[in-house]
Symmetry: C2
Subunit: 190 residues, 2 copies
């Protein structure tokens, strides 16, 4: 997606050989027009799949998830990283954070994953795929179906995308980073 | 705001005499059309104030904050409840959670609060006003100006609104709950 790649080139900060900081428009300060346009792009790529729910994880998936859900005309559900006192019955799964090198639990109320749901997962980054696998686990616990995964920035040099595709999961990424070179980003041709 | 009040009446669950659970459309499952319309309403109420940034706290403020920022044509910044490894210099403030009866720290990178910023705070709930006061503290640390606070649901029977108004802060709430009675919600006339 052209707008996203332009913003990555213009405002992303490459740190070392595997991190890109996009705090200025994607996950601390947020460019709402970019969110809206990414949501529209996900609609175009996924609307033929009869999706009835978008799923993400707090916090940085919420903005892009809201935009995708708006365009698809369906609700967004976001997994929480702590259990609210008012939540009774919930599904839970363990997610490993490679950035922070620790596990954390995600949870979703049983009220919001239903048998027969056709779910699109949306997230800001795809690296090792851990967050998506945790959400997929919860979707299966709820007897629902994962019909696609929409990602803003995929780190194409990490394994997540291949792991998901090997499971038969349909992944669409709006920008795929192939490598970093001298502080610049090389995008995959696709 | 009519749409929000209708959803509170239809889908909100009153728990005890001070809690309303709005998990099904506001802060776990999210109704993106409601978010979009609330964002439009905040634009109408605040656009004359030359706002250049919307500010909220993760996680449940992000959806409504994104919508408000979209309509106002400005970026959204959300305060984090933990410090990311890639964040260098940041402002921080302590917020007391009355629901969980504990303090937590919020932080915002110094890059995203600038001297002269005219900031609108947006959040899903206003009860005791602790989150807004924490954000206000950070705005002052950054030598910026708080020009208004936009709230989805105000608990009019708690002190937050009065505390903020006593400090001269302009607060607009889209639904003000006056009291709960037999599991039903009484809204303030305003």
């Amino acid at each position: 997606m052209k707008l996203l790649k332009e913003l990555i080139n213009k405002k992303g900060e490459v740190i070392g050989d595997s991190i890109i900081k996009v705090d200025s428009f994607l996950n601390h300060q947020i460019d709402p027009v970019l969110m809206f346009e990414m949501g529209r792009e996900f609609k175009e790529r996924f609307e033929h799949l009869s999706i009835n729910k978008v799923l993400t994880i707090e916090a940085s998936g919420i903005a892009i998830g809201t935009a995708a859900a708006y365009h698809l005309g369906v609700p967004l559900v976001f997994a929480k990283k702590s259990t609210p006192s008012t939540m009774n019955a919930f599904y839970t799964s363990k997610v490993h954070s490679f950035t922070k090198n620790k596990d954390y639990d995600i949870c979703i109320s049983k009220d919001y994953i239903n048998s027969g749901d056709r779910i699109l997962i949306v997230d800001d980054f795809l690296a090792m795929g851990a967050a998506v696998l945790g959400l997929h686990d919860i979707i299966q616990q709820g007897d629902a179906e994962l019909v696609g995964v929409g990602i803003a920035i995929e780190k194409g040099f990490q394994k997540g995308s291949q792991i998901l595709r090997d499971k038969g999961i349909h992944v669409e990424s709006l920008a795929i980073i192939q490598s970093f070179q001298d502080g610049k980003v090389n995008f995959a041709k696709k």
